[in-house]
């Protein structure tokens, strides 16, 4: 019998807010333990939570970006469980009435567009971090109360690669829109993976095994690659899979059982009486919707179609949004957007890196880049001269036309002048001239170079070639 895996993911993402979810403490990674805490996030007696509106805004923005329904009435619930890293011994989350429902993420995998449906993306608070020392343990509550988005998929994922591609697509979307930095090293993204297998062609889901708290996408891929064959093997041996929670051992590369369904928690959820239901106005939703950005995949497709760019160029502009936006500013009016793309990717980006500056520091106007390309296209300057002009433009901010005028860089297309340079070059280099006459094609390039040198780069290279040919072989 053949088996197929059914995989669902629950991804926890820290939101990029200035302060924590319920108090004014900074939402910042890397401070000394328990220095970003206050009575509220330490669960002192008498304190009350006040919802961070920025976190609610980012949650709803995520809903827009992930094609979710956005209920007009959301609520917070208490999830009760005792654990030293949970300051109140309950976590505030959205169980019954989350801020977003029913979305999907589209992404490319092996040249095809795949879709994973989402059950929900709900807002909750992060917990503290436990540390274990020789003889005792400690908890750092700096992370406690940081806003966390839990994004839950339908069981639509069918392979380790698909899980990996989905996670990367999700990460791209969230970082793209400034919703989260998604820095794995800093624990900003954590995943629970639900895996079951079933005989191919059947509809019923098998017993669900949950692998908790994965902190890298490659770990998720490896865990799926381990867990799926483990379950299939077990079924083939006549064993039954029990619903359980397993832990991924990244070093050994295996999953091990943590607890079975029998010792599952009863979280005793109930609506948090300290918080009012969240029922913002339509105007608020509209304001959040203004923050919707184009998603990476859509942007790539658009750049390819609208500007006839190769996929490679489009990807550069997807990965570097400001550079892509800059390109669009210039390319909108260009006859050949590809030429603009070349300048932006090959020259501008290199110059920015070299000078350690950003697009905001640019001294020249976007129109100048278009002008530069037009100068080359019209034959007024050579592409080689254009490099010099660009350097000058980058340093001084002057318009390319002005630079060309000022430095006398206009391409010489006057045949009389070019003929003079050619005659000089042939006279000064009789050897190569003979070589060419005798059929050595490469010699022509040498002579061309000499003419360009004599003209200080200004001679129109096409005319020079024609002229030399005519003179030597004509």
């Amino acid at each position: 019998m053949e088996y197929e895996p059914i995989i669902g993911l629950e991804t926890h993402v820290q939101l990029k807010t200035k302060s924590k979810m319920w108090c004014g403490c900074a939402n910042q990674y890397g401070a000394d333990p328990n220095t970003q805490v206050c009575p509220v996030c330490l669960g002192m007696p008498g304190v009350l939570p006040v919802a961070n509106e920025e976190a609610l805004r980012l949650t709803v923005l995520t809903g827009y970006l992930l094609n979710c329904d956005l209920p007009r009435h959301a609520r917070f619930d208490r999830k009760n469980y005792f654990y030293p890293d949970v300051a109140k011994n309950y976590q505030i989350t959205q169980l019954a009435l989350p801020s977003t429902l029913n979305g999907h993420v589209d992404f490319e995998l092996n040249g095809r567009t795949e879709r994973v449906r989402l059950t929900r993306a709900h807002l909750e608070e992060d917990v503290g971090k436990s540390f274990h020392f020789d003889r005792q343990s400690g908890v750092d509550f700096n992370r406690g109360g940081v806003p966390l988005l839990e994004i839950v998929t339908e069981p639509d994922i069918t392979s380790a690669d698909m899980a990996y591609a989905y996670l990367n697509a999700l990460k791209d979307i969230l970082t793209y829109a400034g919703i989260s930095d998604c820095d794995m090293e800093k624990g900003m993204v954590r995943c629970d993976v639900n895996i079951s297998v079933r005989p191919k062609g059947t509809q019923e889901l098998g017993a669900k095994v949950e692998i908790k708290n994965m902190n890298s996408f490659s770990g998720v891929r490896r865990a799926v690659l381990y867990e799926v064959p483990r379950q299939i093997e077990a079924l083939k041996n006549g064993e039954t899979i029990v619903q359980e929670t397993r832990r991924w051992d990244d070093i050994a590369g295996i999953t091990e059982s943590m607890r079975t369904k029998e010792d599952a928690h009863d979280y005793r959820y109930f609506p948090d009486p300290d918080l009012m239901p969240f029922e913002p106005s339509e105007a608020w939703f509209e304001e959040v919707r203004q923050g919707v950005v184009e998603l990476p995949l859509a942007r790539k497709h658009r750049f390819v179609e609208q500007y006839q760019l190769p996929e490679g160029d489009a990807e550069v502009f997807v990965n570097d949004v400001p550079l892509g936006d800059y390109f669009e500013q210039v390319a909108g009016k260009a006859k050949q957007p590809k030429a603009i793309a070349n300048w932006v990717i090959n020259n501008l980006r290199a110059k920015l890196v070299e000078s350690e500056s950003t697009l905001e520091d640019l001294k020249f106007e976007p129109a100048s880049l278009l002008e530069l390309v037009q100068l080359v296209e019209s034959g007024k300057i050579s592409s080689k001269i254009a490099q010099t002009v660009f350097g000058e433009m980058f340093d001084s901010g002057k318009a390319p036309g002005a630079i060309v005028e000022e430095k006398g860089l206009v391409q010489v297309s006057d045949t009389g002048a070019i003929e003079q340079f050619c005659d000089q070059a042939i006279e000064a280099n009789p050897g190569p001239a003979d070589d060419y006459r005798n059929g050595k094609e490469a010699a022509l390039n040498f002579l061309k170079g000499q003419v360009m040198k004599l003209s200080r780069g200004k001679a129109n290279p096409a005319l020079v070639g024609e002229m030399l040919q005519k003179k030597l072989k004509g």
């Binding site: 002192m44 007696p45 009350l48 006040v50 030293p84 005793r268 009486p273």
Partner: protein
Amino acid sequence: MDCFQTLASLRQRLLDGEITSKEVVSGFLGRIESVDSDLNALIHLDKEGALKQAQTADEALASDPDARSKPLIGLPVVVKDNIAERGQPLTCASKILSNFVAPYDSTVVSKLKSAGAVLMGRANLDEFAMGSSTENSARAITRNPWDADHIPGGSSGGSAAAVSAGLCAAAIGSDTGGSIRQPASFCGCVGLKPSYGRVSRFGLTAFASSLDQIGPLTRDVRDAATVLNVIAGHDERDSTSVPRETEDYTASLGQDIKGLKVGLPKEYFIEGLDPAVKVSIDGAVSQFQQLGAEIVEVSLPHTEYAIATYYIICTAEASANLARFDGIRYGARVDGKDPVELYAKTRGAGFGSEVKRRIILGTYVLSSGYYDAYYLRAQKVRTLIRQDFQNAFDQVDLLLTPTVAAPAFKVGEKSTDPLQMYLTDIFTISANLVGNCGLSLPCGFSQNPKLPIGLQLMGRPFEEANLLKAAYAYEQSTDWHKAFPS
């Protein structure tokens, strides 16, 4: 110094320069020293701090013209020991917080401080405000100032006893199911539970978040209005506080109540009402008629479900609210070999039996499989009770009831029977379920022993001004509030 003066009278004397805040505070401190060792109204007395604050108030009164406009300048107040006051113990009368010092001020305490009040100490209560007699205090049982064999009521029993016995000019309590009004009734003072959301809960150790409300206990109605003026208002730190303008609650005092419609809920005038209470309440009803009020019988048909509804909701919320007391971050800890054992030992040793009973009950009603039958159903009944009150308030301006069915019972009389104890709250809990305002004020005495009897008035949500106006009119036409224990 006469310790049985109202805030208003003490304030006048302070402003007139007849007396200093230091003299006032010293007077109360002297009285506390002489009577509180038997009474146990206070858990903690901040003698030095009180004298220092008094000196600051006297200096301000002498030099700063603005100080005179502060409504509580130089006047001693005690605060129930479940409301945070920075640098002071916050024990909630529990062993589990016996060593806890509040690291911040509750909103109510900062408002009292801004109003110039002298915060003298912390009042006793039933552990975590769970109880109706102050017998559930891990510290000591507070005695009724009128008769030491009797309880003062609860859970704000320390606050009520302190006001009644002349240990302070006013006290702050909290009311989750009657915890201000019931002890006020038993001790013969005025106790006001404001509408839910009128006073910030920030800094009040939560017992049942959707029911808790802070309010004043005072010698008379005017003082209650004065303190409410200070503590009421929207607070950004409490999402459940209501963004609604406050008003000057003393402004309507003295207006006549002719034509005011006062409802008597028939479900509250039942068999089993103590005869002395019945006589006093009947007298109060006649008095209201004489003052020109129109008395109307109304019905609150779901009253019989109020106790069950209340105990499901308050215990459910309490089971989560008290989970934070685990010995990990603060408070008393009993070590264990792992976190689970540490929790069990810490909470086993730290909580008293009533608190444990309610945590267990609350945990049960929220458990999977029971949630719908208990918690969810209780919320539905709560809605019905709310509708009862809305219907009644469509017909009348105020409701008039006994605060409690009988005068204060004896120490130990009900402490072994939780159900009997829970039933003492039967007339007061609905206001917490509904969220409307309610007040208890003296309306008579029982004989042998002589114990105060309280009259409860309830008003529409956020109509405290109307409630206080009616209470004041009644109070000023009687002498009950002028009596004090010997």
